[in-house]
């Protein structure tokens, strides 16, 4: 069994609950460009610890409510020869 790690986020949900906060508004609060927020929200970029805290602060929630670190269990390909013997 191979292990793969993944960082997921709840930014879209948190923006929705924060009065449908726009990506632009969040970018202003976090002090980054809108493009960075788009990338973070889409899982294309893992932010630094500092930016992660700033995003969490923008929503007034602890960091673990915004970002989650998950371990994905990945099955290894079974060897046919090994399986036969």
């Amino acid at each position: 069994m191979g292990k793969k790690f993944e960082i997921t986020n709840e930014i879209r949900k948190l923006r929705f609950f924060a009065d449908e906060m726009t990506q632009q508004q969040l970018a202003e609060k976090a002090g980054v460009s809108r493009q960075t927020i788009v990338a973070v929200e889409g899982g294309k970029y893992n932010p630094s610890l500092e930016l992660a805290f700033r995003i969490a602060q923008a929503f007034n929630v602890p960091i673990e409510e915004v970002f989650q670190y998950r371990v994905i269990e990945k099955k290894k390909k079974t060897n046919k020869k090994g399986a036969q013997s």
Partner: protein, 173 residues
Amino acid sequence: MTYQITRTITRILSGAVLLIVYLVQVTGRYQSGVLAMNELQSLAQLMLVFIGIGIGVTIAVEIVFHILYSVGIAVKESVKVEACNDKDREKDIEEDIEKNIKQEMVEDEMAKLIDLKSLRIGYVITGIGFITSLIILVLGYPIFLMVNILFGSFFLAGIMEGFAKIFYYIRGV
């Protein structure tokens, strides 16, 4: 299209135009006999002139790009002002326009990381160009060709760096 991607495309285009103009100049001068295979002084002069032109063009393109991009954002946002009749609100929107321009042009940690990653690709291409130029020399080709490959690899590295940036901005880091 975002500010960073548009800026990178502008840089790629200006770099490509400079490279083409340089190649046309060198080929033309070589064919007309102004540049000789073993005479590097004229070639060095031409290269220095092109480095100077390159710096000037890059600065000019950056300035024009920033002006045009700011105007573009302002025009887009001014539609809001036209739709608004309240004068107090108009002031707010005008402030928003300024804020949006600044916000769009901010260079944050992701932009810096992408810059570093694409710079690495640029270095690799320059290195490949350097090795190729040495191989060319070892194979017995004239030094004229070696120097041109070396010079061209700098330009090519700049262009490829731009493509790498666009790739990272679209796909993510």
